[in-house]
């Protein structure tokens, strides 16, 4: 099997007359912690939407594990091992934390459709195994005490952890994080950095969008910088910090502490 690399080549996405992603190419290697940064409105989330099949791109190629995934539907892409979290947190608000994380186990379950009507000893075993996996994840993300809480009523920082736990429940090979530190305080951000390292130790490649530059410089190994949908630079964090084109792009915007 080809290595779990994600390769974007000349990806372009248009919304009517607006070019949101413009001829973008980058290469995420297996095991990397890769960052995609740029000023607000640069098109970063759109790139993620392209990769995950929510808004398929019109041109270019997206190769994952050696296969073209550009036109696959979202759920198929997840089955191939790519899971993403959302900038705005999309959890199942009226359900409990445990049930939310359990949703991540859906494609790992060996149940058949008829188990929705009749249980079998095998389906019962599958249920137990999956709940077990869910509670192990809750331990990992320190969410044990919130297992039965309704997710919608929990603080933002905890909801973010639940979303990550849910994503990890799918056992992804590539985890795509869309602004995971948004809304977190300094302590929570430190904890997030730790979590990202621990995730990578388990063999998961991480691709993230982030505005918090401290986090980006600390945690990522390689970056692509985009503005107006186009790549303006790529390199290691220290290279990017000194890149004049990047500095110019950010000087225009006021929301990143560079």
């Amino acid at each position: 099997m080809a290595s779990s690399d994600l390769i974007l080549t000349n990806v372009t996405k248009r919304f009517g007359g607006l070019v949101a992603v413009d001829d973008l190419s980058f290469h995420v290697q297996e095991g990397q912690i890769y960052g995609l940064i740029g000023p607000n409105g640069a098109g970063k989330t759109t790139v993620f939407n392209c990769i995950t099949g929510i808004h398929p791109c019109e041109e270019g190629s997206i190769i994952w594990q050696g296969e073209e995934i550009r036109l696959l539907p979202t759920h198929k892409i997840v089955q191939l091992g790519i899971v993403r979290t959302f900038q705005t947190i999309r959890l199942f608000g009226q359900m409990s934390v445990a049930e939310n994380v359990m949703s991540g186990r859906h494609i790992k379950s060996k149940q058949h459709w008829w188990n929705g009507i009749f249980h079998t000893p095998a389906s019962r075993r599958d249920e137990t195994e999956n709940w077990q996996a869910v509670f192990e994840l809750l331990e990992f993300f320190e969410l044990r005490d919130y297992a039965t809480h309704t997710v919608g009523s929990l603080p933002y920082g905890i909801q973010r952890r639940v979303e990550m736990a849910r994503a990890m429940a799918v056992n992804p090979k590539l985890l795509i994080l869309d602004e995971p530190a948004a809304g977190l305080n300094d302590n929570e951000t430190l904890a997030l950095i730790e979590t990202i390292y621990k995730i990578r130790e388990q063999g998961v490649t991480v691709l993230l969008i982030e505005h918090d530059m401290d986090l980006v410089m600390e945690v990522t190994e390689y970056l692509t910088v985009i503005n107006f949908g186009r790549k303006i630079a790529e390199g290691t964090p220290s290279e990017i910090q000194e890149n004049p084109a990047v500095i110019e792009a950010y000087l225009g915007s006021e929301d990143d502490d560079f």
Binding site: F15, G16, H55
Partner: protein, 294 residues
């Protein structure tokens, strides 16, 4: 050819009713299920006004009185429904408003039944039965009146929406309520206006139905209401010329099915047409495709 005349007559009535649906849906994204029952109600109110209030003798004055009273009454009823059943749910999820609309529909429909009983009533013959024969086709005064009056009303509404300030405000609110509010448009008043206009047009439609079909029952609201709604969808829901076009087309379609296949299959074919349109071109004939932002 005969079917063409019949179809256009029925189509005009559908169009008048469809306008009520499409205007409300355009701004509020809500299917006003109670609208059809308002239309039914207008037939009964017209009957009541004629026989109980104006003495039961036909004259031009009486006919005008019937129309005037009925339109005002039904417009008020429409206003009340908006206030009681829809306004409290402006910010609620869509499903709540749908259910409330169904509830309002039930209330009105059964209100009619409780007041007038479940049996069929006969609407008075306010227009004398005068028939002409033109080239093998039978046309009645009633049909001509319905078509002409409907056309006048529809053109009037079109000009109102396109040329006046209020009309522009309506169109703006239909595109983006929040943006309209930010522009200083009082969206609440616009919504009230829409309900008043839509209900009035529906009232006229209901009176025409009474005049044309003569037999009216309390539960005919859903019958005509659904048809009119189908017409609105075919033309493009939220689109005023669309509702007019859809109404006429559906009337023609209905007449042809009834004339050439069988009237017992008219409903089935109409709804098969609706389902096909929903699958193939849900925005209707004149509607625009709007991309949904994630």
């Amino acid at each position: 050819m005969q079917q063409l005349v019949n179809g256009l007559t029925i189509g005009s009535m559908f169009a008048l009713i469809a306008l009520g649906y499409t205007m409300v849906y355009g701004v509020m994204k809500l299917i006003n299920f109670a609208h059809g029952d308002l239309v039914a109600g207008s037939s009964f109110v017209g009957l009541f006004v004629f026989s109980q209030m104006l003495g039961g003798e036909v004259s031009l004055f009486v006919v005008l009185g019937v129309f005037a009273f009925t339109i005002v009454a039904i417009a008020l009823l429409g206003f009340t429904i908006e206030r009681l059943a829809y306004r409290p749910l402006r910010t609620a999820p869509r499903l709540s408003a749908v259910v409330s609309a169904l509830g309002a529909s039930m209330v009105i429909q059964n209100g009619i039944m409780l007041l007038w009983g479940p049996q069929m009533h006969i609407f008075p013959e306010l227009i004398p039965t005068i028939i002409w024969e033109v080239g093998g086709v039978v046309v009645s005064l009633m049909q001509v009146l319905i078509m002409v009056l409907s056309m006048i009303l529809m053109v009037g509404l079109y000009l109102f929406v396109e040329k006046t300030k209020i009309g522009t405000a309506i169109r703006a609110s239909a595109i983006d309520q929040d943006a309209a509010r930010l522009m200083g448009i009082n969206v609440n008043n616009i919504i009230v206006t829409i309900f008043l206009i839509g209900s009035s047009l529906g009232a006229v439609g209901g009176l025409f139905i009474g005049l044309y079909y003569r037999g009216i029952t309390f539960n005919m609201g859903w019958q005509y209401g659904l048809y009119a709604f189908v017409a609105a969808i075919i033309g493009g829901i939220g689109n005023i010329p669309g509702a007019m076009l859809g109404g006429l087309l559906l009337g023609l379609f209905n007449a042809f099915i009834a004339g050439y296949i069988s009237s017992t299959w008219a409903d089935a074919f109409t709804f098969i047409l609706l389902i096909v349109i929903l699958i193939v071109r849900p925005t209707g004939i004149l509607g625009e495709r709007v991309a949904e932002k994630v």
